[in-house]
Assembly symmetry: D2
Homo-oligomer: 391 residues x 4
């Protein structure tokens, strides 16, 4: 059966040779040609921790949107935002929104929460056993925290939420994780904390699982919207009426009417958020900057709130309750991803909130851009023009 097994090597797996061997193997097995995927500009030696069975690269087209004017506490000034996408009109639409908000004085951004989670669950003989344990956890927070933090220099256990149900107690550990996204850091720290708990808890306990799913890793949840996952960041802008008319050929009233109607549709459909197309911006910036691309599932959540001001202008805000981003670790250090981060001066230590602010501002620009396009009926025609490859 060895002939069908993808070649792998214990000692030199992250080399040009190993990648090439795999490329040959796949080509032989399938008859496909991999001449483009085999062209990359970096040494595979940087890849351990990012991928297994490395064979080459996917070349995702990259465009820049901007300039985006951000008035943040961590990001301030004009930025060019890297977006990797294959969807025509996406970069153009975000750019259009950036032009609009720039003319309005820029997007104000604020990070209001910041934590990453792992949520073990503990089972007991009955609900009272779980309740006893809940009290113990509260009383022994210092010990649990100390145990968790032995595994990491940058992660700190901030607090533990408790959710009792049946004879289980679900815990939700909230960590601050510095400039990393931190899911694995949290997993390891929670694991060690759980070992400490098991060793020290004198009461009866049936069993435990490292995740009881209340971290809702890789999926959207109401809990994340309520209590945040990653960064909770808010972007705001007030768009002058005259500017909307001039640049977008629409009015606050028209835009708001469309929002109002579409919110009812979303409520009826059971849509998980009330934004327009946040996932577009999230996904393309995530790919460009080396974020975990699966986190689009969690990070696309948004709470949009808009109102027509007494002066007749259009206040628009986007709250991203679970934006999972990093400027260190994961894919952020890869060749092209690092360059994309550096374009925004967002690579490395002390930059993660800056990146969160830029992304939130970007998302807001995409929302107002598409929101305006829908009401001015430019939507279909711009896809006709720019989206040639999109049947």
């Amino acid at each position: 059966m060895s002939s069908i097994k993808i070649p792998r090597h214990a000692d030199h797996d992250y080399t040009y040779a190993a990648a090439d061997e795999r490329r040959q193997f796949i080509q032989n097995q399938t008859g496909a040609d991999l001449s483009h995927t085999s062209q990359y500009s970096f040494d595979p030696a940087i890849l351990p921790g990012n991928i297994e069975n490395f064979t080459g690269v996917v070349q995702m087209p990259l465009g820049f949107a901007g300039p985006l004017l951000v008035n943040g506490e961590h990001a301030s000034g004009d930025f060019y935002v890297p977006m990797a996408t294959t969807e025509g009109t996406l970069v153009a639409s975000y750019s259009r929104g950036m032009g609009l908000t720039r003319a309005a004085g820029g997007v104000k951004t604020t990070v209001v929460d910041d934590a990453m989670q792992r949520s073990p669950v503990f089972a007991f003989e009955d609900a009272r056993g779980a309740r006893d344990f809940a009290l113990w956890v509260t009383e022994n927070f210092a010990g649990i925290k100390a145990a968790a933090e032995t595994t990491t220099s940058s992660g700190k256990l901030r607090n533990i939420e408790q959710y009792p149900a049946s004879r289980m107690l679900y815990l939700r550990f909230n960590f601050t994780t510095g400039d990393a996204a931190g899911q694995n850091m949290c997993g390891k720290a929670a694991y060690t904390a759980c070992q400490w708990i098991i060793a020290n808890y004198q009461g009866q306990m049936s069993h435990y699982f490292l995740s009881g799913n209340m971290d809702t890793d890789k999926k959207h949840s109401q809990l994340n919207t309520l209590h945040s996952r990653g960064k909770r960041v808010i972007a705001e802008v007030t768009l002058p009426r005259a500017l909307l008319l001039e640049k977008m050929r629409t009015t606050p009233e028209k835009m708001y009417a469309a929002r109002r109607t579409s919110q009812l549709g979303g409520l009826m459909a059971g849509a998980v958020h009330n934004g327009v197309h946040t996932a577009n911006g999230i996904a393309s910036v995530f790919i460009a900057t080396g974020q975990d691309e699966a986190n689009v599932a969690e990070s696309h959540a948004s709470l949009v709130y808009a109102e027509i001001t007494p002066a007749g202008d259009y206040y628009y805000s986007v709250t991203l309750p679970s934006l999972i981003v990093a400027t260190y670790g994961g894919g952020t250090g890869l060749a092209t991803q690092k360059e994309c981060l550096q374009v925004m001066d967002c690579y490395g230590a002390g930059k993660v909130r800056k990146l969160a602010e830029i992304i939130a501002a970007t998302i807001l620009c995409g929302e107002v851009s598409l929101g305006a396009a829908v009401v001015s009926e430019e939507w279909v025609s711009s896809h006709d023009e720019l989206g040639r490859n999109r049947p």
Copy 2:
């Protein structure tokens, strides 16, 4: 202000020169070095319809998982699945699950529904106006369908769902779209259908919007889970008890106990689906094969159903109710993406259900792999070993 504007050209924007001009511009503006992103192996002339402001590429590491044994109606036999990711352990984990299901005889796959939507909304003086219109739409389906289909050769209007609320009628147009994902095809067809409706409806109507949000484009919704979006595809396997013990060092009972507990956690958290980490597989295959990466938001939905059979084996199934995929159009024709599709013989006409089946089988493998790892506590240690770059 021209100095801050990203260079763009009406006539030769998709050229090496234009891309290079933009690269220089971004480098000048930001001081960043873009030497890696500027290395790509294809002619930018293929890019119109996929991106604007093209400047270079992001090199996403690509690994293959497999062989995956699929017993589908469109996909049959062994496949090597391209996964583009920066998350360590992902390819290894899916590969492990593929090995397990292959030893169990392969994954059975079935496509049970297939449609893409656009959902215009029409407003009236009152709810009765909307109700009158609803009857008219039913009676005039043939006319609406004919109008919609003037815009496309491959899209067919299959049926129209109706959702009345307040003085509006929300319609949900279901199209079959051949081998394309079809969002834009549907948008254009729906637009033309709406123009026909407006021209032909004699009753009173206040206004309409091309989307009332009940297509829930780029976001998860319960409606999609109920009525599908893209492909609804089901993957099934029965894992022999002995095999689980041998390969995963666990039992059906242990795996099911973890599922049961985690389902309660997910219900309490308001998680939108009851799978484990579907988004990981969806995102990495989507990027590798040129799918719209933002559709991870919709496509990560899943309905997992497992049971211990009377014989003591483990039946496991994953239903993906809104898998949005294409084998033609969009990013599928790009250099590396096309190669990745060709590895599975999934590029071009008549291949989209085959791709859907392979992806569903892949997702199932990832679910059982992580599900087993969690209970055998290998989870943390495998991340320790393979996830070096993941703080």
Copy 3:
């Protein structure tokens, strides 16, 4: 152990004597005095089908709100609405809203859908078995319908929705049920239809359950909001600005601002509907008119849509997607409940849509009344005055 068993008799259980025997029993067992609950004005002989172990009655205080001016298709003119409640301010608040809408010309009401469900589920060897069965169900609708309708003269099987997942097919049978709520009628009809299906389907089938929970009986669901359960009825009104100022000391702008803010709160909280306190009106009218009181869980769902009109007035609408009501059968024929229905000329055949319209109009009045009170800060003070017993 017979001493602790509540007395029951096969042949004369619904008599004064049997009720009194039970009362004595409970008094003896518990030492409680049941002198009030033993006072009722009707013959227990009417109770079979409504309760077991009948011992007496709970006297729910009854007030009338109104006059309520309804401009419906089935209900037209002024109505006095019976509300049974123990919550101070409730009747007063609804009455206040009725006064307001009456001054505005009355509430327009429209029934747009009408069906009751039972949802059996069928399981197969695999998803393809379920898909085969789905086709068979579509082709054999006439036979299924005929079988179902042998059990009832008033229930008609309108259509069957199909929801495939894993190796199951969930069906949702939609019946029209005349003037009855019809849950049991549907249960019996579906049961007989399922027996016919099992007898006639030649394909492989593992097992079936009469309910696969997609009727979501006695609980709220998104599916009900989408596809209705019971009546889908819409109430609308346009409140003149001057009237709001005069009667409620508020403006459309203030009311809308509160709604906008509270909608965001509800979205963040994962609230299942965007109304204010629909459950208050639903519950009190349900109890007064002999509806199944547990259906408050399903029927309290609402879709509120409001807008400030170009003229500056306040358009307000309430869509009740799952209002489960009857004017015949169940508790509607009991002594006091029948009287309450007769006050609105809503007892018996051909009245159920009239009742649905009156309830929808009532709910709307309660929503605008509390909505206005909240912004004019009368809320707390009116509870202080009218809610003395409500700590």
Copy 4:
């Protein structure tokens, strides 16, 4: 217009005479006969705070289910549970479940949380204003608490949750409320606390509303399921296999198979909880004991968790996360309602957790009873026999 106005009197509105005057008025206006509703056994003078426009009573049939054996911390021993309903089979079904659990040794009950909420929202110039305020609220908790508690002797402000979105901060005040349900107590206390906040906060603030809807009063929400509303109470039982066979003619395996299938149906339908028919028990006990009947909307939420034990028995638990109950105030002191509470020795001070435990145990009995009936196909036949009035 006075002829159409329901008579009301400032000084003697809660008298036999005033009630009779209204009865005559309604009869004259509508031609209906109200001879049954006018028969009640108590003096209307007790009604202020419970109803306005009092005209008579609705006589809800009352039956007792039991004996119910509860092994609680507040409720211990056998109870007869008063249920007011018009739905045939309800009392019989709950009684059957009580017989089953009694034979299994009784239902263990545990109260794990207890709080009532009011959730004001404060708006600011921007998100940073809201964030500043959030810090201030944390720092000034003592002052806020002191202000809130000036309004009530039994209500205590336990903690304040904070939810930032856009330029608003939503607060969720958690109060303990003694033996009252406490919604109004919380409203008044929160109002006074907000006045104190406004008087003392030096920062900029735009406006506030007493409810931003995150108390989700009178509607189900995920937030309530997570953080409780009223009592969070858990009922547990282990049903021996032999007992299930003997009494219910079914097995743990059959019951679990139905649950597993119905859970998938509920997930697909977007059902808000995974119980069977909790609303039946909640509603009927609520009406019997003078609880706010509209709270069925919130209180019907449940988290059911069941498993087959290694010994082959059936562990079954129901977690009620938002059970809103009182043994004092509201409708609890009314004539029949008080008697019903006294049957369980649950009227007045120090009894509310006891009542919560009895209700939770009752709900569990109804769940296992219907759960067993569904699989043994007795469901349809028992409705046929007992549900004669239920078309």
